[in-house]
Symmetry: C2
Subunit: 159 residues, 2 copies
Amino acid sequence: MADAVLFEFLHTEMVAELWTPDPDPGSGGQKTCPSVLESVGFRVGQALGERLPRNTPAFREELDVLKFLCKDLWVAVFQKQMDGLRTNHQGTYVLQDNSFPLLVPMASGLQYLEEAPKFLAFTCGLLCGALHTLGFQSLVTASVAALPACKFQVVIQKP
Amino acid sequence: MADAVLFEFLHTEMVAELWTPDPDPGSGGQKTCPSVLESVGFRVGQALGERLPRNTPAFREELDVLKFLCKDLWVAVFQKQMDGLRTNHQGTYVLQDNSFPLLVPMASGLQYLEEAPKFLAFTCGLLCGALHTLGFQSLVTASVAALPACKFQVVIQKP
């Protein structure tokens, strides 16, 4: 299936051309602006968010939207579902992918962990952009403890 | 089908981030170096060229390889076949797409023609990269007479 590898090849090249390390964190250690890759992911996520839900029943709750991301969005982009979704029921969600496709090509090993963020920025933006289209402001970050597993933390911003 | 729109959205964002107008042509009016988008396309084409032909009989002739690009590569990337292929039997090929998917979203009209090259650079590189993997050095250029139709001219470089 060439479609899937096409996306992966394109993503690899985007990382090569567009990755820039985080600018210095502002006061309080918070990132002050999203990276270029995150912005690209955000706009792709916004656009996908408009296309995907056409055949999906209207979302009633925040949790329904998160389930939609874990299932429909993930399948559309990565041809697999997210492996786990946990929440504290206060607007924070942890989405777990035990074998995140964009990390699979990397060699495993602790020494490669510091390279992982460049392969996660686009997808953080993608989730944030899709949520934006679906009516939720959010902060999305990713963390990797052991390649190629990955956790995305989504914090919904209350208006 | 989200895969196809995913590629189109990504391509749009790559154009937005990476398009740079041609540098000044060198003496003789020839382009001196490929654009960033062309280079990205080249590397994606190289990688696709390695993956696609697995189930394809060995190529015997140049023309077989061009037919492969028009059929298999085009379907893999654009979900359609090229509409026409002509050759002078001396290493020059003209590939005609009457409705090139990356130009379809553009409004038609003569006044938009000058915007077209930014949506063709990636694909020129893609063809050139796939040909490179399959053993052929080439020069690939594109031209548009009426949106969204497009012609790609491939000139095989003899060793």
